[in-house]
């Protein structure tokens, strides 16, 4: 069973879609990172938290038919790479739709959802998914 702290320490980012912006070059990143891969040491101490809008478009996607135990009940589900309006691409599920409706270029927005259960006795883990606009 996973220790709570492993999930707890990421909740801020996962619940609210908080990314990081490099104050040196202005690029925005998600998931959070401490160093900008373009500015290197110039970015140290200059990465600031930024709330992302959760709006973006589908860069590409897959309809998943085989997965880990935690996601078996959701099969078939849509896994997508979503290009957020602020720049970064994010790996997430697209939900509340028929997989046939999903397409490259479709606009989506972030929703807060249950992601998985850590077995029968573990905690329920939450985070972001996306819906078609």
């Amino acid at each position: 069973m996973t220790e709570l702290s492993r999930i707890w320490r990421e909740t801020e980012y996962r619940y609210n879609l908080i990314g990081f912006r490099c104050k040196n070059c202005g690029r925005t990143y998600f998931p959070p990172r401490d160093i900008c891969p373009y500015c290197h040491r110039e970015s140290i101490g200059k990465m600031e938290k930024v709330k992302l809008s959760g709006n973006g478009e589908i860069l590409s996607y897959s309809i998943v038919h085989d997965s880990s135990p935690a996601f078996k009940r959701e099969i078939p589900y849509v896994m997508a790479l979503i290009k957020l309006d602020e720049g970064p691409s994010i790996t997430a599920q697209v939900v509340d739709c028929n997989p046939d409706e999903v397409d490259i270029g479709r606009r989506v927005h972030m929703v807060f959802r249950k992601i998985r259960e850590d077995g029968k006795n573990g905690i329920i883990e939450y985070g972001y998914k996306f819906r078609l606009d």
């Binding site: 998931p31 860069l59 897959s62 998943v64 997965s67 996601f71 896994m79 790479l81 790996t91 998985r116």
Partner: protein, 387 residues
């Protein structure tokens, strides 16, 4: 003093669902075959490098270096043995470390092996463990699997370059055709394009036949210095160059999702260091854990322009084509035991360059290019071998 590096012996287990063999059984079997093939003894071995991807999670066994050395009967000699881990590129990463250790003049003879025992976990549990090759917290956490990330890449690639699914299917068709001639391969049945296209969906647009299987297997080679080869009258093939490069861990962090920068950089360095050109290469062993990867790799390794792999997958890549790909059967049909793959590619190159490949022999093979990749392209290792 810098030394040239030779492969003087090679061996591998059969790849497949080997229920009666354990992690250590497989490692020892491949290692002994390579040692016997090289005609060396325990007193000759300076070090052992063991490649493995996931034994910690699948088999709940770490300390792989010691395990392999111990059960190979080498504990009394105190021979250094360490494990190298670079996900699905562990094999070639270990081969490279072994190569460097001899090239530098530190060692004369090194045994480098790769092993993966994947069928010890059931069904969807193995999919979960295999997803460790992704970013666990920001990809796999949300339900991404290796197949789904490959499928996301495939859909975008097919969309942007107007590529039919049939072009992807040519990869498993070619792999199975070649594997039918390889006694060590997991799947020796030939398949048709229709069978590939109509196989069970795994992660749409990828089907079962686009995806490498879950495999057990091990492979090993013996590397030796030029000095050792000359003094002992050994007959080997030469590692002309070795290169490794990294890219972002996640597909989503990369500027282009269908460009493997790690493969581009590693290939550039490997060609520069070998002094060879693409035209000199007799055959390639690619990391085609998913059919789409083979197309992208052919492009990023520099054999065809971006978006144009579809022009060569129908004919050129065949065993008797102008650029044979995966004479071994590749990851799809020879099999994909993670940590063993990169070493298994070297075993194939050794067999081919010594013209001992029988029915699957690439005629007049002089130079081989091997590409072993980690995750969804996070690391690439390229080796060029020659006679």
């Amino acid at each position: 003093m810098l030394s040239d590096v030779y492969i003087i012996g090679a061996g591998e287990t059969k790849y497949g669902e080997l229920w009666n063999k354990s992690l250590r059984n497989l490692a020892v079997e491949a290692g002994l075959k390579a040692i016997e093939d090289a005609g060396i003894y325990s007193k000759d071995i300076d070090a052992i490098y063991g490649a493995n991807g996931l034994a910690g999670t699948i088999n709940e066994q770490e300390n792989i270096g010691a395990l392999i050395a111990d059960f190979s009967g080498l504990s009394n000699e105190g021979i250094p043995a360490i494990r190298i881990e670079a996900s699905t590129a562990s094999g070639a990463a270990a081969l490279r470390e072994a190569y460097l250790s001899i090239k530098s003049g530190e060692y004369n003879v090194v045994v480098v092996g790769g092993v993966e025992k994947m069928t010890d976990l059931h069904g969807s549990d193995i999919v979960n463990k295999m997803s460790s090759i992704l970013d666990r917290e920001w990809e796999a956490f949300y339900g991404a699997t290796p197949a789904s990330m490959a499928a996301i890449i495939a859909r975008k690639y097919m969309h942007d370059f107007n590529v039919e699914k049939e072009a992807l299917a040519m990869i498993p068709v070619n792999d199975h055709n070649n594997a039918s001639k390889n006694p060590d391969a997991q799947y020796r049945n030939k398949i048709t394009v229709e069978q590939a296209l109509n196989s069970t969906p795994v992660a749409d647009p990828l089907n079962l036949m686009d995806c490498s299987p879950v495999s057990d297997g091990a492979a090993a080679v013996v590397l030796a210095s030029e000095d050792y080869v000359k003094k002992n009258g050994k007959d080997g093939i030469r590692i002309l160059s070795s290169a490794i490069a990294e890219d972002y861990l996640s597909v989503g962090s990369r500027e282009s999702i269908y460009t493997f920068n790690s493969a581009r950089l590693a290939a550039e360095k490997a060609f520069m260091r070998s002094g060879l050109k693409r035209d000199d290469i007799s055959f390639i062993e690619l990391h085609d854990s998913f059919s789409i990867y083979a197309l992208i790799e052919l492009e990023d390794l520099g054999f065809v322009e971006k978006g144009h792999a579809k022009d060569i997958v129908y004919n050129d890549i065949k065993l008797d084509g102008s650029l044979p790909v995966n004479p071994s059967g590749g990851l799809k049909a020879k099999g994909d035991p993670y940590g063993a793959v990169g070493i298994g590619q070297a075993v194939e190159a050794y067999i081919q360059l010594k013209e001992k490949a029988g029915e699957r022999q690439v005629k007049g093979a002089k130079y081989a290019l091997l590409h072993n990749m980690a995750g969804t392209g996070a690391s690439s290792v390229v080796h060029i071998l020659g006679i």
